[in-house]
């Protein structure tokens, strides 16, 4: 039953959930991927002088209790959590199970309500609704309370690698015996402050983004949530479940180089990938494909490309999915771990939307067409502000 027992790192991936600009659930996301259909929005859901495409979730989000219903990131997270739990065949937790919750985010961690702060500056005594919303918006706490999860919890704010880091932390909890099941991944909403911030850094594109492309101009922001349900082999065996997908390895390492830019040689990403491969007990040539971070910024794609070219041979297929979702920040690692599971499960990866021409400064290139995949292992990478890098190895074991 538990085929992953021989691999000391492995925990089961019992279910996945995804909501993003590519689709409100896994099946619609796969449909968009299969048809290479992307849907950037030309208008923003808030007023701003910045004009750029974004990737938005148009679907109706779940209604949550009043105290937390104004937190869009939490509603996005719960939408993906419910989909992942349904696949894991977990309806609800009784309170006796040891369930951990580890969620990455960026926007939901900050008191960044512009109307509140504007009123504070002008009047000095604004309504405090935005502050109460913020205090209720801690994603791990919110998800844990909504699910009745009585295990460890952590909200990770490692910027764009938060979702991947959250999955790695949750796996370490399971391996330590601290919980039997963990809800892990990331969630983030589109927000005017983040938009202005990335604009100020000069890393945004006025066109739909083109990861790894010669003419890439920068990133597009997106929103969404990507969640995996992790389960210990022993707990799955008690439920008589063989999920067929494993989190086989995780690695994280920092550059210690710069507040916003990646190390030019990808020092931390190199270490993170090698750690993840080592934990999975695999060599680079066993990796069938890599879901790259691929933000479509000049610096990120160049550094990431260097690392991939250094570690892997040219046969590895690269999948760059931010052309479908935009950069969903704290959700990105969660979403892309889910996409990696889907690639292994379905046996194909989508065309890398936006990629047309090989870049001169990048030795590797993502796939231009939908590509068949035949392999047991795949990798997903994340790079972030602050020089954080992380990677997960996922195994198809059925």
């Amino acid at each position: 039953m538990s085929q992953n027992r021989g691999r000391p790192y492995s925990v089961w991936i019992a279910g996945v959930g995804a909501v993003s600009g590519a689709g409100p659930d896994v099946s619609s996301t796969l449909d968009a991927f299969w048809n290479a259909r992307r849907s950037p929005a030309s208008t923003l859901p808030f007023e701003s002088s910045i004009i750029c495409p974004t990737f938005q979730v148009a679907a109706e989000l779940p209604t949550l209790p009043k105290a937390v219903n104004r937190c869009r990131s939490l509603r996005l997270a719960m939408m993906a959590v419910r989909e992942a739990m349904a696949e894991a065949e977990i309806k609800e937790f009784s309170g006796d199970e040891r369930v951990g919750v580890c969620i990455g985010t960026t926007v939901a961690s900050q008191l960044n309500s512009i109307p509140f702060y504007d009123a504070y500056r002008r009047e000095g005594n604004p309504p405090l609704d935005a502050v109460y919303d913020y205090l209720h918006a801690n994603l791990a706490q919110g998800v844990a309370e909504l699910l009745g999860a009585a295990g460890p919890r952590m909200t990770i704010v490692n910027a764009c690698s938060s979702g991947t880091d959250a999955i790695g932390v949750a796996a370490s909890w399971i391996r330590a015996g601290m919980c039997d099941v963990a809800i892990a991944g990331g969630a983030d909403e589109l927000n005017r402050v983040a938009l202005a911030g990335f604009w100020s850094l000069g890393v945004m594109s006025s066109r739909p983004c083109a990861p790894f492309d010669r003419d890439r101009q920068g990133l597009n922001l997106g929103e969404g949530a990507g969640i995996v349900v992790l389960e210990s082999p022993s707990h799955a065996e008690k439920r008589n479940k063989n999920h067929g997908m494993e989190l086989a390895g995780f690695g994280a390492a920092c550059d210690g180089h710069h507040l916003t830019a990646p190390h030019p040689e990808g020092r931390g990403l190199d270490a993170a990938i090698r750690t993840a491969l080592s934990q999975a007990g695999v060599t680079p040539n066993q990796i069938a494909f890599i879901n790259v971070h691929g933000t479509a910024t000049t610096e990120n794609d160049r550094a990431e490309g260097k690392v991939i070219a250094r570690i892997f041979d040219s046969r590895v297929s690269l999948s760059a999915t931010k052309g479908y979702t935009g950069h969903t920040l704290g959700a990105a690692g969660g979403l892309e771990a889910v996409f990696t599971v889907l690639g292994l499960r379905k046996g194909w990866i989508p065309a890398s939307a936006g990629f047309e021409n090989q870049a001169e400064d990048i030795a590797v290139a993502p796939v231009r067409q939908r590509t068949a995949i035949d392999g047991e292992f795949a990798l997903s990478t994340s790079l972030a502000f602050g020089g954080n890098n992380s990677a997960v190895v996922i195994r198809r074991s059925e």
Binding site: S48, L111, S200, A253
Partner: protein
């Protein structure tokens, strides 16, 4: 019913401690002040900027704000204090976990100032890049040339306890040989305004700021003390109450056995990360061999006897691993 998740891992060994607090940055001097009755508590307990400059940092943090500076000096002090125990540890084997509730919100509001004054497309990039939670960790990893995993976390209740628990996990699983774990909070004008309106009149709540970091090693490393996050404190010599009110309300008195119960809230104030400061007081009590802080209760005479086992306790928090246990090495 609390789960026992916090009791599954071996304790970590505390190799070094660093802190910057409203009482200063020198641990000896902080301990001496904690042995004296707290001065009349001001409305806010801030860290003086006099404690923040550091020759080791110099101009490398010239763009940084107080949040990142407080975190950096405390982390660097904890690393320096653990110097002998870390000399031969490769930097890729050193992890970092920075916990905070509110994060660098003052810098965030500065970015909003720019956005409101200059427009969305003309706000300052430096303010944005410093407004994210991970900015402090980025400075620490750069200054200490760390190459291992680095995490920033946010939680309004048990962030530091969960960070310690994860550090134990990383050490036990050999993901790291050393973990620098700490908490940092900055109190800005907007938060003070909000706190006074949200909590005003209900209780004597004093916001406090600062940073506390500890360099941890595996249980078998010789250190200053043993530290673990736990579900429920066992019987201890000294119970440190992590409470916002001063004095604690009747309902916040612990029901768990301890010879002495104290709190450090009158000295350090309260914040989402205040358990780190309560633990600092506990650590200094262990080091002094006697209880420090504001006495809350004593269960038996002779309370000046040696203190070998200290626990922090959040009476109002019914969550897992919401306590920290520190024992003398």
């Amino acid at each position: 019913m609390k789960s026992e998740i916090g009791n599954l891992l071996p304790p970590a060994s505390v190799l070094g401690v660093g802190a910057v607090t409203p009482l200063g940055r020198d641990l000896q001097a902080i301990g001496e002040q904690l042995a004296e009755p707290a001065a009349a508590t001001p409305a806010i307990l801030r860290v003086s900027d006099d404690f923040l400059p550091d020759p080791a940092i110099g101009g490398r943090m010239r763009r940084a704000d107080r949040f990142a500076r407080m975190a950096a000096v405390a982390a660097l002090d904890s690393w320096a204090a653990a110097k002998d125990a870390c000399a031969n540890v490769p930097k890729q084997r050193v992890g970092l976990i920075v916990a905070s509730g509110f994060g660098p919100h003052c810098r965030g509001f500065r970015f909003l100032d720019g956005l409101l004054d200059c427009g969305d497309s003309d706000a300052l990039p430096t303010d944005f890049s410093h407004s994210v939670h991970g900015a402090a960790a980025a400075y620490i990893t750069e200054l200490l040339e760390l190459r291992g995993p680095s995490l920033s976390t946010t939680d309004f209740e048990i962030g530091f306890e969960q960070a310690v628990l994860l550090a134990q996990c990383w050490l036990d699983q050999r993901a790291c040989d050393r973990v620098i774990v700490g908490a940092v909070e900055e109190i800005g004008e907007v938060l003070i305004h909000c706190a006074s309106r949200m909590l005003g009149g209900e209780r004597k709540f004093v916001p406090g700021e600062g940073a506390v970091f500890m360099t941890l090693g595996p249980a078998d490393a010789a250190g200053l003390a043993r530290l673990e996050a736990i579900a429920q404190p066992p019987e201890v010599d000294l119970m440190v109450l992590d409470v916002p009110a001063n004095p604690p309300m009747a309902t916040e008195r612990p029901t768990i056995a301890a010879r002495i119960t104290t709190t450090f809230s009158p000295y350090f104030g309260h914040s989402p990360s205040s358990s780190a400061f309560q633990l600092l007081g506990g650590f200094l009590s262990l080091r002094a061999g006697r209880p420090l802080g504001r006495l809350v209760a004593t269960a038996s005479p002779g309370h000046l006897a040696a203190v070998d086992k200290v626990a922090t306790f959040k009476p109002s928090c019914d969550l897992r691993a919401a306590s920290l246990l520190m024992t003398k090495a």
